[in-house]
Symmetry: C2
Subunit: 409 residues, 2 copies
């Protein structure tokens, strides 16, 4: 009986993930923006599952779910998030929540294991209303004024969304110093490193920092028919040149895993018959080494100065987001690696996370660790995101074994 309790049930894990996939389904993925009806329904679904794992919990005043255990012994916090990016994948978030739930189901009723896994679903990891609002609220980083000011891109106020979800007036769950030995989170890799190497488990060493810039070009708005090419000060063309220049000059200055992206471009006024007088791009750099970021930012600013010097358009580089990298706890890395050796034939790889995760917020108050499972084709933030069923089950086994090892230390 105890033996049965202690085993991971892969079928149950897949069934739970499919149950969440059916809530807010979009093509083969889901569309569950934060505080949308399917997101709230997913949270209620999780609350109803908690007793299966001997946990009690509710949705808190910011949309977090925390399942608390009364079992004696050490407690490990584990989880992820249930909302999605728009029209995105079914595993980004739910995988980590269901792994945590499965670990709690396996461990919390087993009297031979000292301690328990407590399950967390952090609200708005995807940042519809703000960056990591749920986990930041838990560690004490979100004020009531922050919530008053928050709104999504459509202009919907967070207060209204909370009210519509019936959460007005509920307390927000708060981190209790000393309650947990640490935080463990599983996630799809969202890249193709594991898949292309035939590996099954990523042992996350760090979560890279994100530095974001607004780069603005100012030229001269003019008529697209009457202004000769020779005298134009086309801000859009200056922006295009800058993008190409970045692509040519960053490789010589970056680290081995640095990535950079221009995700948004707008030309002003944006009419086909008007030479753009201004243009703006949102530019992001990610790396786990602040020295690399500093070097690249210097390069960016010197490139802008060169454009300024040419005198045709002026460029302003404004840093609008600074994210220090988060290091994962060494003991957690070891536990994941040992579990990978025991349950996945050692097919694991130490790697940084290029994406941000709630683990980087929890890492500010307790030891934290993460493990990755492979993403098919490396695709994520798209409804075609997927992971092979066998890899999902292997990941669950490694996750639960990691929890066991951490509680046993």
């Amino acid at each position: 009986m105890i033996d049965h309790l202690s085993r991971v049930d892969g079928t149950r894990v897949l069934a739970d993930l499919h149950a969440l996939r059916a809530i807010g389904a979009y093509k083969t993925g889901v569309h569950k923006p934060t505080f949308s009806e399917p997101h709230i329904r997913s949270l209620h679904w999780l609350v109803q599952r908690l007793p299966e794992a001997s946990l009690a919990g509710e949705i808190d005043g910011i949309g977090n779910v925390l399942g608390a255990s009364t079992k004696p012994g050490p407690k490990l916090l584990a989880g992820s998030h249930l909302e999605s990016q728009n029209h995105a994948g079914w595993l980004d978030g739910p995988l980590g929540v269901i792994y945590a739930l499965e670990a709690a189901r396996v461990i919390n009723r087993d009297p031979n294991i000292s301690g328990a896994v407590e399950v967390a679903s952090w609200c708005d990891e995807e940042g519809h209303f703000g960056h990591f609002l749920g986990s930041r609220s838990y560690v004490g980083g979100v004020t009531e004024a922050d919530i008053d000011a928050a709104h999504d891109r459509s202009g919907r106020r967070m207060r209204d969304a909370l009210r519509d979800a019936g959460l007005t007036g509920r307390a927000r769950a708060q981190y209790e110093r000393g309650r947990h030995i640490g935080y463990l989170e599983a996630h799809i890799e969202q890249g193709e490193t594991l898949e292309s190497s035939g590996l099954k488990i990523g042992v996350v060493t760090s979560i890279v920092g994100i530095w974001q810039y607004r780069i603005t070009f100012t030229g001269e708005q003019n008529h697209a028919g009457t202004t000769r090419m020779a005298i134009r000060r086309d801000a859009g063309l200056a922006l295009a040149r800058f993008c190409v220049d970045i692509d040519e000059r960053f490789p010589a200055a970056c680290g081995s895993r640095t990535v950079w992206t221009t995700g948004r471009i707008s030309l002003d006024p944006g009419a086909p018959s008007i030479i753009p007088g201004a243009a703006e791009m949102l530019f992001q750099i990610r790396d786990d080494d602040p020295a690399v970021i500093a070097r690249l930012e210097d390069l960016l600013r010197s490139m802008a100065a060169e454009v300024d010097k040419q005198g045709r358009c002026s460029v302003a580089v404004e840093r609008i987001r600074t994210g220090a990298p988060a290091l994962m706890d060494v003991a957690f890395q070891q536990a994941v690696e040992q579990a990978g050796a025991a349950c996945a034939g050692g097919r694991s790889l130490r790697m940084p996370s290029g994406a941000g995760h709630d683990a980087q917020i929890l890492a500010t108050v307790m030891p934290a660790g993460m493990l990755f499972v492979p993403s098919i084709g490396g695709i994520s933030h798209h409804w075609t995101e997927n992971t092979a069923d066998a890899d999902i089950v292997t990941g669950a086994e490694v996750f639960v074994d990691t929890c066991r090892r951490l509680l046993a230390r």
Copy 2:
């Protein structure tokens, strides 16, 4: 008395232009989108001026104003438009209408001059609801279904705008074959050729054609943190490269006055943490020689094929607008040039118009001509657009003298 009547009154011309500038003023320019309250008020203002020039007219069912004369003899149609681009200049349009009004005031009451000038204000030359809707309606190129379908960028339906302006049910003025000896229009140059050469009058030889393209790049949308640079298929970067490539390769294939512009860029989905999976640019080429356009379009398509061949992103080039150049009537060019010799010391230059004008629509049914006055700094489609008072008055004198010469032929 007759001598007095026959003279251009520069003070009156400037006063009228300033009266129109005061309606819908924005900084030193105006904001008069088509069918906005200040635009409609400007049309009523013009209707009230017509009797001064022995003309009778009303606003028609599409927002045109046509002032008809009962004077015997040949009739010359002259005018321009009264609406503006958003937050744009005070002279783009009104200059040509007031010159026409001044010509009618001078000529129509003068018994020594055979014939009359009839004044037109064409609606929506600026294309808020469609391209040249007013003049195209006059020459029979706009159906009721076209009007049903027309709306501005905000989604306001043209039918609703016409109703709000009290124009529902009014007939649309129609071109009468044989009524006019031709059409004359004055406009600011909107470029800096005249100013930089110290000249006062542009004798327009042709209005360039506008060819417009939607160029779409398809790559692969992915996570901006987890997708290594080496495997990215970034549609936004492909677009930026293409813009730079155009700028490098077009000069060797273009004509001496060809211009090209990327006026709008959008990345999909346009989020800072997502590699764009698709990107689109609106691209325009203008020239008065279709052979040049054909050569450049071939180049554009072969550049797109090269990008396709590299295999990282695919490119689709779709032509969405084809504008044949319009040639100005030779006799009209001569009349403008002779008037320039008589009234502006011969400081005129034959030149094509890089901008579109209602004259290109009228040119499809009658001889047409245009003259330009200098634009300070070449600026237009911006509220700082301006022309020196002395140049405005000189232009009016050349315009009225041109009308006299054309009627006398």
